[in-house]
Amino acid sequence: MKTPRFMAVLVAMVALAIAGCGSDDSDEGAAPDAEKATQAKASGNVTWCIGKDTTGAFGTVIDNFNKANPNANVKLLELPEDAGEQRRLQVQRLQAKSTECDLLGTDVIWTAEYAAQGWLLDVSDFISQSGDKFIPSTVDTTEFEGKNWAVPFNSNAGFIYYRTDQVDQAPDNWEDLYKEAEENDGVVYQGFRYEGLTVNFLELVYSAGGSVLSEDGKEATADSQEVKDALTFMADGVKNGAAPKAVTTYKEEESRRAFESGNATFMRNWPYAYALGKDSKIADNFDIATFPGFAGNEGAGVLGGYNLAISAYSKNPEGSLAFAEFATDPEQQKLMATEASLPPTVTETYDDPAVKKAMPFAEELRSAIEQAQPRPVSPVYPQISEAIFNNVYAALQGEMSSDEAASKMNEEIQKALETF
């Protein structure tokens, strides 16, 4: 007589849970009917959620905007420096339909995922009105299913930094670079088990002419010779000491610190490290060079950078769009280039003399960006990237042979594509 009562309560709770589940889904419609953000009006509060403002440049842009628009108040909400953490925190808020973030600083690789979930507002009208202000490849990173979901904010393509007091110039191919690294203090890059490793890896693969995902995004193509060659090359580099073993714990900041403290001859990193390097103890002893090639081909860059996307739950989409417009104004883009080495997405900025002075490699940077390739575009990109960086990491640690790593990577990418 007593136990059935307990059971009844338990069953009731489970039933409640199921019922709760059912009504949950009828509230969530499918994504595609997303709202558009067309009006830009500089008023109200805007919270801008973006990764750490390492140089203070974001703060300056915000100040400029607030001063020029007394009716508006933009506030910076800094997320951790790690892109993976930024995404996790943005996704957490978006899943909770939080109204806290109006404008999101989204890594170029999150566009497809966020748009597919209906978390972003359609800004296609704004983009088409901008004509050819932006570098086309950067606009590509804002596209998903034929619409634009973000405004290109800054771009990125990798470079090689090298110590001028140890080598005369950076070699034009990776094979020679590793050889010279072995003879000197080594090469550092982003070898930790995260997105950065995917980038480093794809730079080699793309240069060799390979790919991991088919053009239409439906099939994995990672079980290829180019991929295996890249894996072998990277793994051997660690094994032979061209790259220190610690490289597998490095993200951007760690590799930059290793290079700046004089512990490496070469470094692969984004342009941002240039300005910071000029403030460090090796300020006079380093320079920057364009990407070396691999397997006899030209160097290939992987497009990085951040876009500005408006949250579908924002209470102030007009203000957010107004700020996005302001931040992609040539003046502000110039400011970020000169103060933070953040590559502009606006084509004409690269011609500005002040920009060329702060970034002597401005010309190369623009062409690098124009020619860089995006990472695989897919709503399940996070899983694809995980498949890549997990297996590359295993190969670097010597836990798997290149063949095994390539085929496991392929398998996992294929599985990710079939995600429900």
Partner: protein, 312 residues
């Protein structure tokens, strides 16, 4: 539930005792708030988690879901990441609890003997416990950071590999994690065991000495058996905590290099990969494993609880 049955059984006899209705009503009144909170926050979510584990939510299309039966569980059992997490969790638990027990016992004995320093020691020993888990993880991560950390330098000085990238290599990262946990909890164990030591009457030792027992024999045949209840309690608390560990690997290594534990992998699947169904299945599996161990607890140390539940 208890209140309801109490009302039903008004005045009925059980084992020859009668329960006054005022008492029962009062008991119901006093217990309801606690049970209500527990039902809301523990029972309902567990039920919901079990339900979620039987579904699959689409990662591509928001809102789309399907009933997946045991597919998530099958996937977990077939996934090498899951079994790695199980292995890591149990290895971590086994080694850290053993070390904490041994070191804690040593500390307890030292504290028991060292009469002059006892007050100081008791305070000093609680400092690691007072440090936030997150802070402790950050501290140890800083101490072992390649290029900047003090620990690799010290270890190199005493001859342990200058080549090792501590947090960057499998096995070594786990060693650091165990070290961090032992640092934080061995003192806690020491206090639990010290309390147990202090209750052992000296006469027992004196009698044994008169009979010619050596220090070791006294330790083995008197100290350990009489300390057993305290050891068991300490053991169970620590084991359950170690099985559930999350803060430490999350902050220390993010789960790489063989430090992913059950809680961590469930969290990653839920948040990073947004696989609600699969992540819930992993959470439920974690729950089952921990509850199984705690069930063993209730069995062995149940006498403790029984005494609390007994009359008067």
């Amino acid at each position: 539930m208890e209140a309801a049955t109490a009302k039903l059984g008004r005045g009925r006899k059980k084992r020859g005792k009668t329960y006054g209705s005022e008492e029962r009503r009062l008991a119901a009144l006093l217990l309801t708030p606690a049970m209500a909170v527990i039902a809301l926050v523990a029972a309902y979510p567990i039920g919901y988690a079990i339900w979620l584990s039987l579904t699959e939510y689409s990662v591509r299309v928001p809102g789309k879901w399907r009933f997946a039966g045991f597919d998530n569980y099958t996937e977990a059992f077939g996934s090498s990441e899951f079994w790695d997490a199980v292995k890591n969790t149990f290895v971590f638990t086994g080694i850290s609890v053993t070390l904490e027990l041994a070191i804690g016992l040593g500390m307890a004995i030292a504290m028991h003997e060292a009469f002059k320093g006892r007050g100081l020691l008791r305070t000093v020993v609680l400092v690691p416990w007072a440090v936030l888990t997150v802070v402790s993880a950050i501290t140890w991560r800083t101490l072992f950071e390649p290029n900047l950390g003090l620990a690799p330098q010290i270890l190199e000085a005493i001859g342990i590999g200058g080549d090792i990238v501590w947090l960057g290599q499998e096995g070594y990262a786990m060693a650091v994690m165990i070290l961090a946990d032992v640092w934080k909890t061995a003192p806690f164990m020491a206090l639990l065991l010290l309390a147990g030591l202090q209750v052992i009457p000296d006469d027992v030792y004196d009698a044994a000495k008169v009979d010619g027992a050596t220090t070791w024999q006294r330790f083995r045949r008197i100290t350990i058996p009489l300390l057993m209840p305290a050891i068991l309690v300490a053991l169970i608390f620590r084991t359950l905590d170690a099985l559930r560990i999350f803060d430490l690997p999350y902050v220390l290594t993010g789960g790489s290099n063989g430090t992913t534990t059950l809680s961590l992998i469930a969290h990653q699947e839920l948040t990073a990969n947004r696989l609600i169904g699969y992540g819930s299945a992993l959470s439920v599996l974690t729950f089952i494993i921990v509850m199984a161990v705690s069930f063993i607890y209730i069995r062995t140390v149940g006498g403790n609880i029984r005494s609390l539940a007994e009359e008067g």
